[in-house]
Symmetry: C2
Subunit: 140 residues, 2 copies
DNA sequence: GGTAGAGGGGATAAATTTAGCCCTATGCCA
DNA sequence: TGGCATAGGGCTAAATTTATCCCCTCTACC
């Protein structure tokens, strides 16, 4: 297995939090689970940009970090459900804030991000969590 | 210059925000500037884990993304001061929340992070922003 | 002349993260 | 029998991000 060669810095809270949220899909995963989408296959459908492999890996990390809990039903085909732990829930205000901030400033951000010469092409089809109406949420 | 090969996804706010905050030191940089540490050399001293090069690059990205403004004084030796833009300030509640969340759950997080087999060694000496007393802050 | 301070930035190597494939297992359906 | 769905996870190759080194500018100081 891969091992870090550079020491992890974890003095200020910022770095600790970053470590937990570090991963292309982690915030989106937490968000999805909080909104009631708990099965891996459902989450995968909601995040068309992600591979099954990546979701699987990042879900595992979130679990190891204690943000989510996994319940495996001994069935076939297998059934697994994730849910937020208490500390995982405590992250939600932050995830929401990140999400809202991005949406609030979308026009501006899209503009400046496009100006970045490193950015050549863009996708705007991925996460469809917005389309979950409040009625579909299963919070708690 | 390096160009992205994988299309950037920017549908939900989460991804947009992530793009802006993406960088090992970006949240810390914004935090430092918000607290009144505006010159690159001062920031560098506060973040012993970072190289001059990295800070320089990430500051530039933050500037290109419109989060901070750079004022160059035509002096010698050169003098540069960064400050948050309006949209940059609007990120501060989030940065603060990230910071506080990490500090609040420090004990727990340090434990679970250490259990990660990838993590071999750790540093706890870096950012010293906590040591800035309120009196030293120059907000606004 | 050599050194230090302040800032910028090119080039390249190393580290780390994602993407892509493949294989496991079982029951259901055509 | 072949294909699909569901979930895990090994392994390798790309992609992306950080770390390192080095050079440049100009001035003051020893």
């Amino acid at each position: 297995m891969y091992k870090r060669k550079i020491p992890l810095t974890m003095d200020c809270g910022l770095h600790l939090t970053k470590e937990v949220l570090n991963g292309k899909w982690k915030p989106a995963l937490l968000n999805a689970i909080a909104l009631g989408v708990r099965r891996p296959s459902e989450i995968l459908r909601l995040l068309p940009g992600a591979t099954r492999r990546v979701l699987s890996v990042q879900l595992k990390e979130l679990e190891e970090h204690g943000m989510i809990e996994k319940k495996t039903y001994p069935q076939l085909p297998p059934k697994v459900e994730y849910s937020l732990t208490e500390i995982g829930w405590s992250l939600m205000p932050i995830i929401d804030a990140l999400n809202q901030w991005g949406d609030t400033h979308r026009t501006f951000l899209e503009t400046v991000i496009r100006q970045d010469p490193k950015v050549v092409h863009i996708t705007k089809s991925a996460c469809q969590l917005q389309h979950l109406s409040v009625g579909e949420q299963q919070v708690g």
